[in-house]
Amino acid sequence: MAETFIIIPGRTSRQGTTLNEGKYTSGYREETGTLQMNPQDMQRLGLQDGDRVRVWNDHGSVVVPCKAARGDELPEGILFISYGDVSSRLMGGDTHGSGMPDSKGFDVFLEPVGQSTDAKDAVAGP
């Protein structure tokens, strides 16, 4: 069953280093295409590192592998993903007159996806 979470896209050290190596390197894609979760949330949903989850809202839908966030970095109910193509797919076009779309701290739904997920569920991308 889907649950509501708040997602925070942001920068990480690895996002920065792999960005320089190139946006088409596997390192960058992996870093910006992996969702970090609170370990208790993962346990509750029966998720393990590497399991795939679907994350969506009115603006888009992505399927990404998840992993437990380091230590107590993420409170329950909060998701983190490195900035990039995947996080931007969940961002709406409306800026409420500010020029800035809601880019951090917005609501998404999340549900685990079985291992047998069809290829079409994979994150669309080049």
């Binding site: 920065g16 320089n20 909060i78 961002m91 409420h96 020029g99 809601d102 701290g105």
Partner: protein, 457 residues
């Protein structure tokens, strides 16, 4: 102004021992890293041919920046994905810009101020809109500056004076790795001779990031409640008791908050360094405004300042150049022959998502990866001119794409550090590709030729 060549003076002369043994090796001292807004200008680069093999003083991000900007084998220009001559590409770019009714110039935060000026000039000639990546970074803070002003200072003042630091909505340990060590938390300064020991540091964030380990007090705020927290702190600074409901809303107890605010009032020189945790979250400019006003209020008791932590190497330069030229920092339309500023109307995220712009000139930015889906869809539909040293999603869809030399590594010029201090660049080696400045200058020239011919004919 021509693009400065690799300097041959003292700054780039190899050390005697190294160059004597290896004539192909040179050392560039006091080079500048332009990867993040810290713009560290104490780099010592060892250059072998057209590769930087050592970058002394660079952080992990800086090293990745210097080691990965070697010369790639790509065409100098492409038109609709096919290799084209430089002249053809300039011609096509000028044609697109002259034919557009509502063009937008966007990006600009990863190029020199010299190139930014030319991009603005082109936009002015064609009556377009100029916007920079500021609009999706600290644009809301730019709006807040206009509302409440900015009590500001330089990073040098922070280093030499600040005995109280509040990092808010940012993770400098990962995004600006040398900020702590070079400018804010660790260095010994004139009035803080013992460095870290003389400073108190607070981090306010939703996530307990790596930066939390570096500070004395971590306030874990609930998501989307920075605004309430800042206003509760403003109240306390003014001696007003906040409503207890603020505890539930922010997740921070009033007792803790009272203690922190009391300490802030007793600081000799305090600074709030705020990140995109404030500007990108609901509330946006109101969040920045609250924090700027908090710094202002604290000046009733002692000296306090507030500075946004800027991301890209020359995003601060973009704000400066656009401001000194048009009077506004970003999102400026020049269509009526005079500048008009209106975030939400003349900002690129909106212009594209609403399907309004009919051409785009994009300099050193990748909106095809970072913008919302409707904005990307529109960008795919219109003619786009891209200047970028690397291949990106945006260069892939571009009608005209130029491969450029990398600023700071291959080209000289000026960039602004996040505290609005201009810093010169000392390039490490020549690139076979042209600089943004040179390409933009050629486009400007061709645009003018076409406009003059049209008005004469």
């Amino acid at each position: 102004m021509a693009t400065p060549a690799v300097p041959s003076g003292d700054s780039s002369a190899g050390t005697p021992t190294e160059t004597a043994e290896r004539p192909d090796v040179k050392v560039v001292s006091n080079a500048t890293c332009t990867f993040c807004g810290c713009v560290c200008d104490d780099m010592e680069l060892t250059v072998e041919g057209n590769r930087i093999v050592k970058a002394r003083n660079a952080c992990v991000l800086g090293k990745a920046w210097f080691f990965n900007h070697h010369i790639e084998d790509r065409p100098e220009a492409t038109i609709e994905g096919r290799p084209a001559s430089y002249e053809e590409a300039i011609e096509r770019a000028a044609e697109i810009l002259c034919n557009a009714v509502y063009p937008v110039t966007y990006g600009l935060s990863d190029t020199t101020c010299e190139a930014q000026r030319v991009a603005l000039a082109i936009t002015d000639w064609i009556g377009g809109t100029v916007d920079t990546t500021t609009s999706v970074c600290h644009g809301p803070s730019g709006i807040a500056f206009q509302e409440v002003g900015e009590v500001t200072c330089s990073l040098g003042e922070i280093k030499n004076r600040a005995d109280f630091l509040v990092f808010w909505g940012g993770n400098p340990a990962e995004s600006h790795p040398r900020h702590f060590t070079r400018y804010s938390l660790m260095p010994k300064g004139e009035f803080v001779p013992n460095g870290r020991k003389d400073r108190t540091a607070v981090l306010i964030d939703v996530r307990k990031t790596k930066s939390a380990k570096a500070v004395d007090i971590f306030l874990q705020v609930k998501p989307r409640s920075d605004f309430e927290l800042a206003w509760a702190m403003r109240a306390l600074v003014r001696g007003i008791e906040p409503d207890p409901s603020v505890e539930r809303k922010t997740g921070v107890s009033l007792e803790v908050l009272r203690d922190v605010v009391e300490r802030m009032k007793q600081a000799r020189f305090g600074v709030i360094l705020f990140g995109m945790g404030l500007t990108m979250t609901r509330g946006k400019h109101l969040n920045s405004e609250a924090v700027l006003a908090l710094a202002r209020d604290l000046n009733r008791h002692t000296r306090w300042t507030a500075k946004p932590m800027r991301g890209h190497g020359n995003v601060t330069g973009a704000d400066n150049v656009v401001s000194w030229t048009t009077g506004y920092p970003f999102g400026v339309n020049l269509g009526r022959g005079y500048p008009r500023f209106n975030p939400g109307e003349f900002t690129t995220a909106d212009l594209l998502a609403r399907g309004e712009a009919d051409a785009a000139l994009i300099i050193a930015s990748d909106p095809m990866s970072n913008f919302s889906q409707p904005a990307r869809e529109h960008l795919k539909r219109i003619p786009v001119i891209v200047l970028d040293p690397k291949e990106t999603e945006t260069s892939r869809i571009a009608t005209v794409a130029f491969t450029t030399a990398t600023y700071g590594i291959n080209t000289g010029g000026t960039v602004y550090r996040m505290d609005d201090v201009p810093i010169p660049l000392r390039p490490a080696f020549d690139s076979p590709y042209r600089s943004d400045y040179e390409i933009l200058k050629a486009i400007e020239w061709r645009v003018r030729e076409k406009q003059l011919a049209a008005s004469a004919g």
